[in-house]
Chain length 361, copies 2
């Protein structure tokens, strides 16, 4: 198989930031072979108003007219059920992102994942509006005493909170974002064990491109690969790859492409968490599926399952162009944005990938 039509692709977890960075990376969504993106709201300040969401979307649309943008709010006490209803009615957002306070980039305004009850009125409104709750599923690190939480067990420690949310809001669509552990995969699979058809799925998980490649050894000493949640152990990576190629419709692609200026990655202290993979999103994923002899499952993972869970309709699309994956080597540049104010080191900088993408009108 040397050429595959992936149809209208989607990446359901994308950071395009603001300012000069936004101008640099937003056009790379399409370069990476992606049609539809779900945009993260962790700007500074975070996106928490209707006006902000609409304005941000307009700005992105101008930068990438053929890309379809799905937008989100940042879960915090500034939101109200009334705002959720209004935003849904105006189709301004498709979901709300929940960041546990302090776990990753611009998450200081986030919530305490030990107790979501303050947000139950929000979740109720979201459930009524069929909006999606996107969870950064990590407990914040706490050390020293007994029940330690650290970067390695932070996700697994969060899973009971996921189950409780699903139990309390059985019709709320929830995504465990950028999951990194075998435990998370097993939990999402278990929650879905009695689901008869894709339309009944209420809890899904996104998987990034980089977590299909990385383990702890890859980010130890290589800040380019440092992200939150951190890549875990080999057994976890194997579970993620197996889930991605499984054809189970509750696992789909969300790159969590999270660009930072190179100067914030090449530091001896305070390295920013995030891997930038947008400009080659589909080729990165295709290479893993190829290695697993599972390219026939790629379209489900990068298109069908995500579009279905989000309920994206043909009429929502800014472009009906389809993505063609074809076998052609390409070099991952050491940096991108060299002519601009900002330079980014992309995932697998300097490596060669086996696949490329083009657009079919």
């Amino acid at each position: 198989m040397d050429e595959i039509n992936l149809g209208v692709t989607c990446d359901m977890h994308v950071h395009v930031r603001d300012g000069a960075m936004c101008e640099l990376v937003t056009p790379t969504i399409r370069e990476g072979g992606i049609s539809v993106v779900y945009i993260m709201p962790n700007l500074q300040p975070p996106v928490t108003t209707l006006e902000r969401a609409i304005e941000y979307k307009q700005k992105l649309q101008k930068l990438a007219p053929e890309t379809t943008f799905l937008m989100s709010f940042y879960l915090c006490k500034d939101l109200s059920p009334e705002l959720i209803h209004e935003a849904a009615r105006k189709d301004a957002i498709q979901g709300v992102k929940c960041y546990p306070a302090g776990v990753t980039t611009n998450s200081s305004a986030g919530v305490d994942p030990n107790d979501f009850s303050d947000f139950y009125p929000i979740f109720r409104a979201m459930e009524e509006e069929n909006l999606i709750l996107n969870l950064h599923g990590e407990k914040p690190s706490v050390g020293e005493e007994g029940n330690d939480i650290h970067v390695l067990n932070a996700e697994e420690s969060f899973l009971p909170a996921l189950r409780k949310l699903h139990a309390d809001f059985p019709n709320l669509k929830i995504i465990l974002e950028h999951c990194t552990t075998a435990a998370a995969i097993e939990t999402v699979r278990d929650i879905n064990k009695n689901v008869a058809q894709p339309a009944d799925i209420r809890v899904a998980a996104t998987i990034t491109a980089h977590h299909l490649y990385l383990t702890i050894d890859d980010w130890a000493g290589n800040p380019i690969n440092f992200c939150k949640p951190v890549a875990k152990l080999p057994k976890d990576k194997r579970a993620l790859v197996a889930a991605a190629i499984s054809g189970e419709p509750y696992f789909f692609f969300g790159s969590d492409s999270a660009p930072h200026p190179l100067c914030n990655k090449a530091r001896h202290v305070g390295v920013c968490a995030g891997v930038y993979s947008q400009s080659l999103a589909i080729p990165y994923v295709a290479e893993i599926f190829d290695t697993q002899d599972s390219l026939d499952k790629l379209k489900c993972f990068v298109s069908d399952f995500g579009l279905s869970f989000y309920g994206v309709k043909k009429s929502d699309l800014k472009s009906l162009d389809e993505v063609i994956l074809f076998r052609k080597e390409q070099h991952v540049p050491e940096t991108i944005g060299d002519g601009s104010d900002i330079v980014i080191a992309p995932f697998k900088a300097g490596d060669t990938l086996k696949w490329s993408t083009k657009w079919a009108k």
Copy 2:
């Protein structure tokens, strides 16, 4: 207790490198409150001849006339039993350092820890000469298939090899260097459970200053704290602190101070492994003992136990000066060596420590 005489102190695991770096850091041994050091042989090329060991020691002695240097060979196929006997007879070395190939800085010439049998003639000669075998106790990382070794379990995976070496050479003095896990502490404790007196100890472990502070969360995103073996989980750190303050004579101080130019730490790929702690070695350790209300056990850890295990005699010492620890805050500089060709970021750069050291003639 505001002032403690620590006597003649020792740091039994020190990297002072070569060239300009060596000139910068060798004098900081004494600044850090250390009298006697055991010097690592992982230069490029490694120290594997009598001439090299003697020449290196002379160079160091010139840079720090009052410091007592104990020297080592780098275990590799260039060594022979005859060389070991000769080096011991001439008192040129006190031990031989074993690096598993590829696990840390300049370890590419190291050995395969899955099979030490090629080196058994060397170990036999060392046992006869009462030389010490210093083990970097990690299995090299191997991924993908079944029996995964990664940076987190690399040390625990090595422990059976430690037990086997001790079983095969019951009189050989062995040190598990810079141990980082509760499992390692338990193993060394278990091996010593029937030891009646300090002179009978054959297997000991060194503990660094930085591993008394750090866990995985501290080096995730902070290359300044990245070293091999990597700092592990909170439970492991607690076990290390408990061992250090325990008064058990088979646990003693070895800083594994491993300086790298800042430009090799502040990188987005290929960060060098190593924490530089030499210039404040004793204050770093004292602060932990103070927090644990165990300053009365500090002298054992940083002086008595190490000197005893290595059999250092008064006549070996270049200086009989004693180290006085006293309660006086000091600031850890952001960098050291600012006037020289090389700049290093020291451990806990920018922090304040509660203790200082001075020398009593």
